[in-house]
Amino acid sequence: MSDCIFCKIILGEIPSYKIYEDDFVLAFLDIAPVNYGHTLVVPKKHVANYEEIEKNDLEKLFNAVKKIGYALKIGLAIPGYNTCVNNDPVAGQIIPHMHVHIIPRNEKDGLALWPQGSYGDGEASETQAKIRNKIE
C-alpha cells in the first residue's frame, strides 16, 4: 500500500535497521524502543491485522518471531522478552500494517503487567458461551 510506512520500509524507500528478512517477513528495530533492541516483525504483504492475514503468512510471521526471539536472547544475553500484537486501533495499533513487537527485558526494568481483575458469579460462563458460540 503506497502510503503505508511499513510497506515503504519493506520496499527500502525508508531506511531501517534490519534484523531479519525472508520471502515473507521483515524484522527491523523500532526507532522508538521500549527497551534496547525492541524489534518489529511484519509480513511483507500488506495486511492490517489478524482478521486479514492469511494462514501461510501468519505461520511465517510467528515462526520468524520465534527465530528472532532466540537470536535476541542469545545475541543480547537477555533474561527474557515480550512479544505482543496490538490488534486494531482500540488495542493501541497505530500503524495499520500487522506487526509483532518483540521487547527485550531486563530484571527490574519496571515494565509491569496490566492490572488483573476477577469475574462475578456466573459472569465467566456467560462470557465463555458468547465466545464459544462464535468459534468457527
Binding site: A32, Y50, I135
Partner: protein, 134 residues
Amino acid sequence: MDCIFCKIVAGDIPSYQVYEDDQVMAFFDILPISPGHTIIVPKKHVADLEDLSDAEMTALALAVKKIGKAVMDGLGVKGYSVFLDNKSAANQHVPHAHFHLVPRAEGDGLERWPQSGYSEGEAEEFLKNLKKAL
C-alpha cells in the same frame, strides 16, 4: 509434571475452556485483565517460545486468530491485544509457553509501555553486537 497448565490440559483442574484442537487448548485467565481474557497453550509442555516446534508455533498462531475472531464477534469488541511473556524477567509466571488474548475497549485505560529513542550510532552499535554474537 507439576505444571498448572498441564493439569488444566489434562482436565485435572477445571477451566472455562473456549477452544481445543489436537495441539492447542484455550481457556479463561481467572484473573482477567478484561472479560474474555483468554490463555492459549500448546498441549505439550514447552516452557519457552523458542522451544516450540514450527508445527506447534503454527497451530498456536492459527488458534489465536480463530479465537480473536470469535471474541470480536461474540463479545462485540473492536480489537484485542495478544502477547506472550517469555521468561520470568518478562513477567511469565507459569513456565509453560502461553499467549494471552485480551479483548479491548475504548477508554479501558490499558497503556502501551513508554518509548524512548536511540542516540546517534547506538542502533548501529546494537546491530553490530547482535551480528557478532550470532
